[in-house]
Structure formats: C-alpha cells, structure tokens
C-alpha cells in the first residue's frame, strides 16, 4: 500500500512559513486528502440519490424488488461517502478508524436486525391461538 507514496514520511513537517509563530506542523495519519476524492464522492452520491429518487417516483419495478434496489443504492452511497468524505480506510496501519467503523456496523446490524426480528415475530409469539383463546374465555365465564 505504501508503495504508492514512496516519499511520504509519517512525520511530515510542513508549512513553516516565517509569519507563522506557531509553525504549523502536520503529522499525517492518513493518506493525503485530495480535491479529486471530494469531487468523486459528491458526483457519485448525486447520481445514486437521483437514481433512487427516479426509480421510486416512477415505480419502475415490483415493490419488493424496488426495496432491495433502494437498500443497495443506500448501502453503496454509504460506503462511497465513508471512503471519499470521511476517509475511512485511508489511514495508515493500524487502522483504528476503520476497525471502529466496522465494529459499529456490526453493532448496528445486531441492534436493528435483532429488534426488527423480535418485533415482527411478536404477534406470532405472544398472541394465543383461537382455541387457546376460547379455552381462556370459557374459564373466565365459569367464575
């Protein structure tokens, strides 16, 4: 990975302009951020947003298929913005930022997925069946 920037030093001293009393020094933990990255991130996000919007408005496919496509478009835009805007994964090893983000994704998947799994099964698990209900009502009447 570091082959791309052979003349890069981890401790890169820069910007010692004479008028700077506080001499700006930069220790870079990430590969340098370029204008190019922001432009790629912006344009691709713009395209993905518009595609998602247009296919929803025009109902181009079956609803269930659209749900999957929209989820994938959102996921794609999420990954693009994490990489191009938040520079996750562009740091030098050890990549703690990436590690933290991956772990959080796991937490979020468990939290959201788990909650939905439980909540959408709740009726089936908690509601008594018809015969159980009749039995219960009879027992109440006999009081």
């Amino acid at each position: 990975m570091s082959k791309k920037h052979p003349n890069h030093h981890k401790y890169h001293l820069s910007g010692n302009e004479p008028q700077d009393s506080e001499a700006l020094v930069e220790v870079q933990e990430e590969r340098p951020v370029l204008l190019k990255h922001y432009i790629i991130g912006f344009i691709s996000s713009l395209i993905l947003t518009l595609v998602a919007y247009i296919i929803t408005i025009n109902h181009v496919a079956d609803r269930n298929i659209l749900f999957i496509i929209l989820a994938l478009l959102a996921l794609g835009q999420f990954l693009l913005q994490m990489f191009y805007f938040l520079h996750v994964g562009r740091e030098f090893s050890p990549k703690f930022k990436l590690l933290m983000a991956s772990f959080m994704s796991l937490v979020v998947i468990i939290l959201v997925g788990g909650s939905l799994w439980i909540m959408f099964n709740l009726n089936g698990r908690v509601m008594p069946t018809q015969s159980q209900m009749v039995k219960y009502m009879n027992s109440q009447n006999s009081l």
């Binding site: 506080e22 700006l24 991130g41 998602a52 919007y53 913005q81 959080m104 909650s115 909540m119």
Partner: protein, 208 residues
C-alpha cells in the same frame, strides 16, 4: 557548541510539536469514537421507526404526507453542503483563511436551507393536525428526523463559532484540529441522512 545547542533546541522543539500533533490525532480519533457511538442512537430510532411505520391509527401514512420533490430538495441541499464542507477542510489544510471562510459560509447557508426546509415541513404537518401526538408512526417520524435536525442545529452553531474563531485568529494548529472534527461531524450527518432519505421517505412512498 552554539550550533549544537541550536540544533538540539530545534530538535526538542520539533519533538514537542510532534507530541502535540499526536495528541491532536488522539483527540480526532476520540471524536470519531463519539460519532460511532452516536450511530447506536440513530440505529435505535431507525428500528423504532420501522416497527411503528404502519401504526398510523387512522392518521396519514408517509405516502400521503410527504412531498417527494420537497424531500429531494432537502437532500440535495444537505449533500451539497457536505461537499462544500470537504472543500472548506481542504482550504484550511492549505492555510487559506479567506477560501476556508468562503466554503464554510456556503456550507452554513446550505445547512441552514436544509434545516429551514425541514422545520417548515414539520410546521406544515403540525398545523394540519398531524403532530407527533397523532399516531405511533408520526411519533417515531418526528423523533428520528428531529434528532437528526437537532444534530444539524448544533453543527450550524459550531460552524458559526468556528468561522468567527478563524476570522479572529487565522488557521492555527488548534483551529485546524477543530475544523477537522467539525468536518467529520457534518459528513457524518449527511451519511445518516442517506438512510433517513431511503428508509423514511423513499420506502414510505413505496408503501402507498
């Protein structure tokens, strides 16, 4: 001897600077950890929203309530502000004060546009009688989107304070660190909005 003394002094100085910068990087990572834990807050609200999505209690559904072109406009304002925010950080790294202030100002205006659009939408719904007390769906909707809006409000305040600070003191090591944190915060809010846009608005429109 004099030379040696000067050299060792300058080495000591640059070592101290490296130490300071390393502290800054620890601060930035700490802020990143905060952002990631903020994900848990949003994840809980998303889960709540999805569960309560159909509990409209005779009130309006998302498809009846939301105006899609309006939402697209909001999304574009926030996405563009995320981009100009990145440009502000790039200019700050090049120590260009005026350029930084320009991009930050543009980010602020776009962020304010987004927030105004969102608040106007909330106001319109509430006036039609569809406030958060109307149904489970609307409670979840206002909580999720409102929490994001509250973050945006804090971000805008922070941006205004930062712009004033840069205007007064220029771009120093400390202000650059703060600009970096603010920039991360703002990009993060745009990332959260991708999911609000998709799950609340687009999925909502499909449920019609």
């Amino acid at each position: 001897m004099g030379d040696l003394a000067t050299t060792s002094l300058s080495i000591a100085k640059s070592n101290r600077k490296i130490e300071q910068i390393e502290n800054d990087n620890t601060t930035l990572f700490g802020f990143w950890v905060y952002l990631m834990t903020d994900c848990v807050l949003f994840a809980s609200l998303f889960a709540t929203f999805v569960v309560l999505r159909n509990n409209t209690f005779g009130g309006p559904t998302g498809a009846q309530l939301f105006s899609m072109p309006y939402v697209l406009l909001e999304t574009m304002a926030l996405l563009t502000s995320s981009f100009t925010n990145g440009l502000a950080l790039l200019s700050a790294q090049k120590r260009k004060v005026k350029q930084t202030l320009f991009w930050m100002g543009l980010t602020f205006v776009l962020g304010l546009t987004f927030l105004s659009l969102e608040l106007a939408e909330f106001h319109k719904f509430a006036r039609m009688g569809d406030s958060w007390t109307r149904s489970g769906f609307l409670s979840a909707y206002y909580t999720l989107v409102g929490t994001h809006g509250a973050h945006i409000t804090i971000g805008l305040l922070w941006m205004a304070v930062m712009a004033f600070y840069i205007f007064k003191r220029g771009i120093t090591r400390v202000s650059l660190k703060r600009i970096r944190m603010m920039s991360m915060f703002w990009h993060f809010l745009d990332v959260v909005w991708i999911f609000i846009f998709t799950i609340v608005y687009l999925f909502g429109a499909l449920h019609a």
